[in-house]
C-alpha cells in the first residue's frame, strides 16, 4: 500500500517554476520503496485532492518567487489552520487543494512543503544553474522526512 506521496509541480516552460517538476522527475528515476509514490505535474488541480486524501504523508516540492536564488526551505504545513484561498478556475493553491481534500474526502495526510527560490520565471525549458544544483539537496530532504516519519507510518528506513 502506498503511504507516502511526493508531488513536484511547476510549468516546464516557465524556467525555474518547473523546479518541483524536475526534482520529482529525478526522484522517479531512483530506486524507491513500494510505499512511496511520486508524481510530477504541471499544476495542482482539484482532481489531486482525492488522491492526496488517500495517503498518510504528503511531500510537495515547489519553486518560490521570494528569497535568495537557490534558497531551500522546508516546512510542515499546519493542516489544522487551512483557509479558503480561492478555488478559481486557474488558481489552485496547495492550501486550497488540501482544504478540498479535507472537505470532500474527510481526511488529510501530514503535509511537508519543500521549496527552492527561483531566479527566472520567464519562458524557458531549463532551470537556472544555481537552482538546478539544489535538486540533490531536495531529494535528500525528501528521504530525511520519510525516515523521520517511519515510526509513525510503520515503514522501514530508506538508506
Amino acid at each position: 500500500m502506498n503511504k507516502v506521496l511526493v508531488i513536484g509541480y511547476g510549468n516546464s516552460l516557465a524556467g525555474d517554476d518547473a523546479f518541483g517538476f524536475y526534482a520529482a522527475q529525478k526522484l522517479v528515476g531512483l530506486e524507491l520503496p513500494e510505499y512511496v509514490a511520486v508524481k510530477y505535474i504541471h499544476q495542482l488541480m482539484p482532481e489531486h485532492a482525492e488522491e492526496i486524501a488517500e495517503y498518510d504523508l504528503l511531500i510537495c516540492i515547489d519553486a518560490e518567487v521570494s528569497g535568495n536564488h537557490g534558497e531551500l526551505r522546508c516546512r510542515l504545513i499546519n493542516t489544522d489552520d487551512l483557509h479558503d484561498t480561492g478555488t478559481a478556475a486557474h488558481d489552485y493553491t496547495l492550501e486550497s487543494i488540501l482544504l478540498l481534500a479535507r472537505q470532500l474526502y474527510g481526511k488529510l495526510p501530514e503535509v511537508h512543503l519543500i521549496t527552492v527560490s527561483g531566479k527566472n520565471f520567464l519562458t524557458s525549458d531549463r532551470l537556472s544553474p544555481e537552482v538546478e544544483i539544489r535538486i540533490p539537496d531536495v531529494i535528500e530532504n525528501v528521504f530525511s522526512i520519510i525516515n523521520t516519519k517511519k515510526h509513525l507510518l510503520g515503514l522501514p528506513v530508506i538508506m
Partner: protein, 474 residues
Amino acid sequence: MSRTITIDPVTRIEGHSKITIHLDDEGKVNDARFHVTQFRGFEKFCEGRPFYEMPSLMARTCGICPVSHLVAGAKACDDILAVRLPDAAIMLRKIMNLSQIIQSHALSFFYLSSPDILLGLDSPVQDRNLGGIVKANPELAKNGILLRKFGQKIIELLGGKRIHPSWVIAGGVSTKLTEEQRKTMLGWIPEALKAIQWTLDTVKPLLENFREEMRTFGNFPSLFMGLVNENNELEHYSGKLRIVDSVGNIIADKLDPQKYFEYIEEKVEPWTFMKFPYYKPLGPDQGSYRVGPLARLNIIDRCGTPLADQEWAEFRDLERGAVLSSFHYHFARLIEILYGIEKIKMLLDDEKILSTHFRAYAEPNNFEGVGVSEAPRGTLIHHYKINEQGLITWANMIIATGHNNQAMNKGILQAAKHFIKHDKLTEGMTNRVEAVIRCYDPCLSCSTHAVGKMPMKIQLVNSCNEIIDELIKN
C-alpha cells in the same frame, strides 16, 4: 452622451478576452462586443516543420483540449498519406476524443459554470467557485472531480500523460490496447455513469430557476452545425457535416468536411483577433451558425446510446424546432458526458479494439490534407499543405470557439440590453453578461497563461474617455 462599459478580463473562461458594452446618449445598450485579446501564431511558426510532427505540435495550442487538436491534426496527416485506417485505430482514437470531451465538459460545467447555477448569479463573487460548490453541495463537487478524472485517466492510460499526449499519430495510434488496459477502463465506467446520472437528476430541476436567463442568454435564431454519423446520430470523430436552421429544418446535409472551404467563409473585424466564420451560401448574417454541444444535439436524429437518448428526448422538448437558448449549452454538455461514457463502453466491448493492426503506413500521397473532428466546444478543422520534402508550407485551423464568435457577440448584446439599464453597474449585471460567454465555454488557448491571477476591471466610460463608474474584482 455615449459611453462604453468594459469588462476586462472575462473570468471563468479558458483564455484572455474582454467585453465592451456601448451605451447610447440615453444610457441604453446599443452594441456589445467580445474581444479576444490574445494571439495564436501556430499556423505561422509551424511552417517548415515535417508534416508528421503536426498533430503533437498543434496540440500545444491548448492545455485544456490538446487531444482535440491531436486528433484533428492526425486526421489531416492521414489525408496527406491517403491511407485507410485500421478499425482498431479509429476506435481507440474515438475513445480518446470522447475522454477529452468528458473531462473538458466536466471542467466547464462543474468548475466554471455550476457556481452560477447552484448558488445563483447574484451570489457573492467570492463564493462563485468550486469552493462555494463544496460548501453548498459537496456531492456535486465530488462528482465533478470524479468525471473530470475519469476522462483524464483514460487519456493518461492510452497516451501516457493527461496533458499533451502524443499517442495519436499520422496513420493511427502508436501502441495497441492491451486486455488489461481494457479491463481497467471498463472498471471505471459504472462509477462515472452513476456520477453523471446523479448530476443530471440534481441539476435539471435547478435549471428551472433560470427562466429569465433562458429567455435572454443568447436566445436567437441561428443555424447549427456539426458532424453526424451514417445513421444521423451523435458523432465526434468522423461522419459528415450537417447544418440545420432555427426551426430544425436540415438546410445542408452530408457535407464533405474536407471541402469545408467550399461552404465556410471567414470575415475579419478590426477589434478582435478571432475571425467570424459563416455558412457561405447564406452570407455573413443569415449564415451565422453555432457549434458545440447545443448544436450537436440540435442536428441529430438521436444520440445512439440508450441513456443519452432518454435525456436527449427531454432536451428536444425544451423548445419547438431547434433549442435556441444558449443557456441550454449546460444541459447539452451534461448529456454529452453521459453519451461519452456509454459510447466508450460500447467501443471497449468490441473485440476488434484489441487488434494488433493499429496503424497504417505510407509516404505522403497528397500535398494537402484536411482533418475535421468534434472538439468539446464544436467542430474543429485542421488544414495543412506540404512541399515535396513533406515540410509544411501552409496551415489553417478553424477552432470551435471561432465558429461561435458571431453567436457569442449576439448573445452578450442580448443579455446586456436586458440586464444593463442604468449608469450604475452591479456585479450581478456584469456577471450575467459574462455568464453568456461561459455558456459557450470558449477556449482561447489558455495554455499560454504564465500566472493564474486574473483581476477584473469594469469601467463605465463617457464619450470624453472619463471614467464615471468602476468596479474592480481581484
